[in-house]
């Protein structure tokens, strides 16, 4: 009822009835092929330079990056970061195969609980599906092995990213998502730096409701 009222009002405004079948077919074709528009030149770089651009952009947005050679370097990178910032060594970790493959037992001080985040968690570790050099953005789609709350509830968010998952522009990350995951996951977060607010006197303060710290461990696989 309301639906037809709204649709008919739109069609009246457009001075036509329902779109003819051939035009609908054309628009469905546009949806299926989802053509790209202009991609800014800044990310049209060789991969090693895209990695550097990503790191620069994360740091510009008040995040930090540690670069390690392979997954075996992750525990030391995480432990060093926590020590340097005087943070607790108890972690809530995404049950992701990449993270489960990390030799955490090399750093027995790290206490790890797998699952979604709880309100009391101070540090969360998750895995990035992709990263976008253009603006230093992480793509974190929800999945059983990548709960959304880990991106949000803890004061410190640590994200493990394989360099091979890093692309130049957002469009390339969306194509990777379509190819590897298929349909749209329930939630896809594009995260650029730690949480912030400028609502008090239009002056930037970090750590509003989400993490105050965002640390990327970049695995150069």
């Amino acid at each position: 009822m309301s639906k037809s009222l709204v649709l008919n009002a739109i069609r009246r405004g457009l001075r036509r009835g329902e779109l003819p079948a051939d035009q609908q077919t054309m628009l469905r074709g546009r949806l299926a092929s989802h053509p790209r528009h202009l991609l800014p030149a800044r990310s049209r770089l060789p991969h090693p330079e895209q990695i550097n651009l990503f790191v620069r952009n994360v740091e510009k947005e008040f995040g930090s990056v540690a670069r390690v050679a392979d997954l075996s370097g992750v525990p030391a990178a995480v432990a060093d970061y926590l020590t340097a910032h005087n943070l607790p060594s108890r972690l809530a970790m995404a049950p992701h195969p990449d993270l489960q493959a990390v030799p955490w037992n090399e750093r027995p001080m790290l206490e790890i609980r797998e699952g979604r985040a709880q309100a009391t968690d101070a540090v969360a570790v998750t895995q990035a599906f992709a990263a976008i050099a253009e603006t230093g953005t992480l793509m974190l789609p929800s999945a059983p092995e990548r709960p959304t709350t880990l991106n949000l509830l803890a004061d410190t968010a640590i994200v493990v990213l394989r360099a091979s998952c890093l692309v130049g522009a957002y469009e390339e990350a969306w194509d990777k998502l379509r190819a590897e995951i298929g349909g749209m996951p329930r939630n896809v977060m594009l995260v650029t730096g730690p949480s912030r607010s400028a609502d008090i006197e239009q002056t930037l303060e970090l750590g509003a409701h989400g993490p105050r710290n965002l640390h990327v461990v970049l695995v150069e696989d």
Binding site: L5, A143, T148, V188
Partner: protein, 476 residues
């Protein structure tokens, strides 16, 4: 519920200019918005080209809006969600309330939503015994103070540190009186702690949407704090409030619009959290809502389609127009009297609450054109304000003296010889009377002008005469 005070724009503006706190806030924050946007735009050489792309995407979406909305709904349903079509604010409020009542909601957290302000959803929920809690920092203090936002992306634009402290001391009754608020961080920490428990207790989370994507049935929110994400992730039920013109065809279309949105708004290259929500919690998921509802609201939009105001529906609510507006910069957002201030509000408000109510707003413009020059979707805002002035005139809503004088001017303007004679006589006599001081401190029938500043006395010939001479002499 806030009754629109737009009919009292002139009185509101006078009060705003005399409001020391507001003037302090405007002087502090106005220039920084402009500088940040300029820096972000300078950092992306393709920005101008992307503005054209953004305009074209929205035009395409609007020209096929009925088709894309149906595709959108089909994809929401496929993802386990539901779309509630609402013709007006009443229907939208009823739809939200009925979901909240069905699930037995006691408290509801809210992400920032301008359409939520437009339909005054908070007051409606409160009247029915449900407590809404705004979680965006700016919206939170606006709710404590029972005000409307004064800016579409910075709701507390008009407030200073002392206002925050005052509101917290008044409303956070458990607050230790000895607690000091020396820095902005202290305010932020207090709000974060207070709101964290609301996030965890809420039964329903309500967010707005910057975009709806037909291809996937997704709603997109863009935030910096993370409050919108906590709002849509933690409660069992997620309700999205969105007006119909938010719908774009594909993820790629949305992505191109996102490239100009944050840069135009806060001057960031990208907002901290840009989140795409699609339906309900999937099998095996450890978090996320079990119900996903989209309240799809028309409330006057479809009536703008096919009119001279259709272009306004391209608006992506970045606030660049008000950030660059000399009128907004002088009087702030509350003077406009309703939900949407600044140039975009001056075009949208008459369309939503009537030009009889909001006729002053499109008149409160110097037509300097800055708004149009920074609009990421190239809405010709001055032209649209002029259309409202025409409608106001046609409907005999403008004041009698204004109409008489405009009629008088038009009579002369249609008789060029007489017009030149009259302006020459007026310029000469004014010039003669003002020859000593070179200006007038007061003039009969011109009190509106001379009340605030002097009128310079004309010197030499009229513009027409000079122009004609320059043309003759070839010096133009």
């Amino acid at each position: 519920m806030h009754v629109a005070t737009s009919p009292a724009f002139k009185e509101n503006a006078t009060k705003a200019i005399g409001n020391a706190g507001l003037q302090k806030a405007l002087a502090r924050s106005g220039p920084s918005f402009i500088a940040r946007r300029a820096a972000a735009v300078a950092g992306l050489p393709e920005f101008e080209e992307l503005r054209n792309t953004a305009r074209d995407i929205k035009n395409h979406a609007l020209a096929n809006l009925d088709f894309y909305l149906e595709e959108y709904e089909a994809n929401v349903v496929k993802a386990g969600g539901q779309v509630h079509w609402c013709t007006d604010a009443d229907a939208a409020r009823a739809a939200v309330l009925s979901i909240c009542q069905r699930v037995g909601a006691k408290t509801v957290t809210k992400g920032k939503s301008m359409i939520g302000e437009e339909i005054a959803i908070n007051h409606h929920l409160e009247r029915h015994g449900i407590t809404p809690v705004e979680t965006d920092l700016g919206e939170y203090i606006i709710q404590l103070r029972d005000e409307l936002p004064s800016h579409i992306i910075a709701p507390a634009f008009h407030l200073n540190m002392e206002d925050w402290e005052e509101a917290f001391r008044k409303h956070h009754t458990d607050l230790d009186p000895a607690r000091e608020f020396l820095e902005r961080r202290d305010i932020l920490t207090e709000a974060r702690t207070k709101l964290r428990s609301s996030f965890l207790a809420a039964d329903v989370g309500i967010t707005g949407a910057n975009f709806l994507i037909a291809e996937t049935g997704s709603s997109v929110i863009v935030t910096n704090e993370g409050n919108g994400d906590l709002t849509q992730t933690l409660p069992r039920v997620h309700i999205v409030l969105a007006s119909i013109e938010k719908c774009v065809p594909t993820i790629e279309d949305c992505t191109s619009l996102l490239r100009v949105l944050a840069r135009s708004a806060t001057g960031q290259d990208f907002s901290v959290y840009t989140t795409f929500s699609t339906g309900v919690r999937r099998p095996g998921d450890l978090d996320g809502p079990e119900e996903y509802h989209v309240i799809l609201i028309d409330n006057g939009r479809s009536a703008m389609i096919g009119t001279e105001f259709q272009e306004m529906l391209r608006c992506i609510r970045c606030a660049a127009c008000m950030n660059h507006c000399p009128v907004y910069g002088a009087v702030g957002g509350h003077a406009y009297g309703w939900v949407y201030p600044g140039p975009m509000g001056s075009v949208l408000t008459p369309g939503l609450i009537g030009v009889d109510q909001a006729g002053h707003l499109p008149n409160a413009s110097t037509f300097c054109g800055k708004c149009e020059s920074v609009c990421p979707v190239k809405i010709p805002l001055p032209k649209l304000m002029r259309h409202w002035r025409e409608r106001e005139f046609e409907r005999h809503l403008s004041p009698a003296a204004y109409r008489t004088n405009l009629g008088l001017w038009a009579w002369f303007a249609r008789r060029p010889a007489l017009y030149r004679l009259a302006t020459r006589a007026a310029a000469a006599s004014l010039g003669w009377f003002g020859r000593k001081k070179g200006k007038f401190a007061s003039l009969p029938f011109a009190g509106g002008w001379t009340g605030g500043r002097d009128l310079p006395a004309p010197e030499g010939d009229t513009f027409f005469a000079r122009y004609a001479r320059a043309q003759r002499e070839g010096t133009l």
